[in-house]
Amino acid sequence: MLIIDCPYCGPRPELEFAHGGQAHVVRPADPSKSSDDEWTEYLYLRLNTRGVYAERWRHARGCGRFFNALRDTTTDHFLATYRAGERPPTVAAPRSAP
């Protein structure tokens, strides 16, 4: 069970969170202008990063907020969490221990 640092409530156990998939996937402002390929990419195509991955979480059984996190998928260590709408922070290379 991971410890996730909610940007509002602080470090909390994973049991309180719901994973929300890849972060920074923006819904087209006017989907009718998207081509089929663009729309397919928006809907279905996601990264499968080995390493630092930006993903969404929701503190579903806490403050209820969606936020974003940078997680190293090889270690499960979080490098940063930040509020929805913010740009991902610059982080140092993954450390060996959290």
């Binding site: 509002y8 049991l15 403050c63």
Partner: protein, 181 residues
């Protein structure tokens, strides 16, 4: 038609470590700082800006549940007064005020084993240093979502959606079997 039915909340068995708390008036207030400021004046409690903290005044309480969400609790008899005052004060401010008085029930966990009983199913660190008096938060207790509010060192108010109350109490009772007689 005769006025009016009395509230009959879900029955909760009392134990030396568990006091069923009386029916209450509850509002969910969602909105920004302006809404909180207006509500503070109307409700008579300074709504906490600090995450996961509760404030009380005059028998009423305001609990921070999220950056745009507060739970306002008042005695049952205050329902109309509180509703009217809040409605008037917030009329021109973007907000959502929803009556959730009946949505949940309150359990008073008390005594030296209050926190020990909760650690059976709550993954939070409930040590006084980590979860001080005045802290409140939604979290999980086994398979139920609960709201915990530490009102004293050895008292925790649990607010839980009404249909989950039986489960929470039954799990606490199961754990309490181990308590010294």
């Amino acid at each position: 038609m005769a006025e009016s039915l009395k509230r009959t909340p879900p029955r909760v068995a009392a134990h030396r470590w568990l006091e069923p708390l009386p029916a209450a008036t509850r509002f969910s207030l969602r909105g920004g700082p302006a809404a909180r400021a207006a509500a503070s004046r109307a409700f008579g409690v300074e709504l906490p800006e600090q995450a996961c903290r509760a404030a009380t005044a005059g028998g009423r309480a305001a609990l921070w549940l999220g950056p745009d969400e507060q739970l306002l609790i008042a005695p049952e008899v205050d329902a109309a007064a509180a509703s009217g005052a809040l409605g008037a004060a917030l009329a021109d401010i973007p907000h959502a005020l929803v009556d959730i008085s009946h949505r949940q029930v309150a359990l008073g966990l008390e005594g030296p084993h209050a926190v020990w009983l909760l650690a059976h199913g709550c993954p939070l660190d409930l040590d006084l240093a980590q979860f001080p008096v005045g802290m409140c938060t939604r979290t999980v207790y086994l398979k139920a979502e609960v709201l915990l509010w530490r009102t004293a060192e050895d008292r925790v108010r649990i607010e839980v959606w009404r249909s989950f109350a039986d489960y929470v109490v039954a799990q606490l009772e199961e754990t309490a079997l181990e308590l010294p007689a």
